[in-house]
């Protein structure tokens, strides 16, 4: 037998559902990242998971992003499309020590080029502490970022979740 593995994408996804027996659907904070990204502006960091200070952000990858930096490791998982990530080792850290989440870098970062990666669907990359990084979407897609709630995190649970 030949099996077909089903992944989602911006253009093709099917959202699941909750059958409530004795509960409130809101307790499950149920959303679909492709649906969220379809309604997002490019590079908006929309929370689709939150656990105390930690967050998962769905990002619509389209065109070229600005530069970001962070005081802790983050990761990004490409769920659809293709994206290049460029890295710069900042001469001087821009994120305040101990601050959670990523912040925007004004203009181009000052520092040494660290390299770049190119991700396709299913690829995950490290966004190392103290680096600046920017994304260039080769094709429009969706990224899932593992980080901490920060200034750029957008929480719009009532709009994105089943209730």
């Amino acid at each position: 037998m030949t099996y077909k593995t089903i992944f989602g994408s911006l253009s093709k996804y099917e959202k699941g559902h909750i059958d409530i027996i004795d509960d409130d659907a809101k307790h499950y904070v149920f959303s679909n990242m492709f649906e969220v990204a379809n309604k997002s502006q490019p590079w908006e960091k929309v929370a689709v998971g939150i656990n105390q200070e930690y967050v998962l952000e769905a990002i619509r990858a389209e065109g070229k992003s600005g530069w970001f930096t962070c005081d802790h490791d983050e990761t990004v998982l490409c769920m659809d499309g293709s994206v290049r990530i460029d890295y710069v080792k900042l001469d001087k850290p821009l994120a305040q020590s101990g601050k959670g989440g990523s912040i925007a870098v004004n203009g181009d970062p000052v520092g040494k080029k660290m390299g770049h990666v190119v991700l396709q669907q299913g690829h995950q990359a490290l966004l190392p502490k103290g680096s600046a990084y920017s994304f260039t979407a080769k094709t429009t897609g969706v990224l899932l970022q593992q980080t901490i709630v920060g200034d750029l995190t957008k929480q719009r649970w009532a709009q994105i979740c089943l209730s």
Binding site: Y3, K4, T5, I6, F7, G8, Y13, E14, K15, G16, H17, I18, D19, I20, I21, D22, D23, A25, K26, H27, Y28, V29, F30, S31, N32, M33, E35, V48, G49, I50, N51, Q52, Y54, L56, A58, D73, T75, L77, M79, K89, K113, M114, G115, H116, V117, V118, Q120, Q121, G122, H123, Q124, A125, L126, P128, L144, Q146, T147, I148, A158, C161
Partner: protein, 328 residues
């Protein structure tokens, strides 16, 4: 409640079926050709040996995991991170009402040693408790060899991310991880990684989907990336989660591929609360006051996302942190 300290394993020689019997505090365990029999001062319980070994395998591999591992509707463990409760009927409303539930606390090394020894002794050579039922033979019958290599697999626990220099490495045929029969269509290309000299340990990427397509176990979350206490613990799922997991904190599921149905019930009573059907791209929280069991017809990829903070269980139990991740 009593606490047992002795770390030696209390076991008999082989019984008439060739398996050792075990005593752990006031609990005793015996296996025959088809069943595991568990006995405690106020009762006893019988579990099909395939279900028991699959549950025991997860409890051992996860070192009692987060919160409650219900082997079924009667027997299970509660992790207190340093010590563990072994219980019978603790989360069964009828047992509680009849006041025949029983619980004994053990320092973790005590119960760990007994469980690991029992798992190894009770698993025959042709049965792999981590495999899907379609990929292993049955556990029935008299004692017939052992499968120590299968039941003592090392659990992956990345420090930063799989693929980073010095951290957990990617899977391949060469590492003994062939592509699973249900994931043969998953692209295996690795990302382009171009690190400037001196930054080879910082610029890293890997193909998570290919990595998961080569997993040789089911229902076994293992850490592939870390952001402080935020842990990505993806896993591949086929058939039924062999335990019913009772949460002591909020846990998140991100469905990466295919579909899983979750039966969700009240953590304390087992009363059904919801059925959650998740498809690729879906994100859902499992609240801190529920138990859940998953069903996956086709092998699927699930990202289990955990907050590993040691403070969370007490904060939630004391009401200082909410049972639900967010209100809206």
């Amino acid at each position: 409640m009593t606490t047992a300290h002795a770390s030696e394993v209390n076991t008999s020689g082989p019984n008439e079926f060739g398996y050792n019997n075990y005593a752990l505090g006031n609990f005793s365990f015996r296996r025959d050709e088809y069943f595991a029999h568990v006995t405690w001062p106020t009762g006893s319980h019988t579990i099909s040996i395939d279900d028991f070994l699959r549950a025991l395998q997860r409890d051992c591999a996860w070192d009692f995991f987060y919160g409650t591992v219900n082997f079924d509707h009667v027997v299970g463990t509660i992790n207190h991170y340093g010590n563990v409760d072994l219980f019978a009927g603790r989360f069964n409303a009828a047992f509680r009402k009849a006041e025949i539930d029983y619980l004994q606390n053990f320092e973790t090394p005590v119960i760990r040693n007994t469980f690991h020894t029992m798992l190894d002794n009770w698993t025959n050579s042709t049965f792999d408790p981590f495999a899907s039922p379609a990929e292993t033979q049955a556990p029935w019958g008299n004692k017939s060899g052992s499968n120590t290599e299968a039941v003592t697999r090392r659990r992956v626990a990345a420090q930063r991310m799989v693929g980073v220099q010095g951290d957990e490495q990617i899977r391949s045929d060469a590492t003994g991880h062939p592509i699973n029969r249900m994931f043969e269509d998953v692209p295996q290309s690795e990302p382009e990684v171009h690190a400037e000299p001196g930054f080879e340990s910082e610029i890293a990427a890997f193909n998570l989907f290919a990595y998961l397509s080569r997993s040789n176990v089911t229902w076994n979350p293992s850490v592939v990336s870390v952001c402080k206490e935020s842990l990505y613990c993806p896993t591949t799922e086929e058939y039924i989660l062999p335990i019913v997991h009772g949460n002591d904190r909020v846990e998140w599921f991100i469905q990466l591929s295919d579909e899983i149905t979750w039966d969700v019930a009240d953590r304390e009573t087992g009363s059904p609360r919801a059925k959650v059907v998740m498809k690729a791209g879906d994100c859902a929280a499992m609240p801190a006051d529920i138990r859940h069991q998953g069903f996956s017809s086709k092998r699927s990829m699930l990202l289990v996302w955990e907050n590993n903070s040691a403070d969370l269980p007490d904060l939630i139990a004391s009401g200082k942190a909410p049972q639900y991740p967010v209100t809206f």
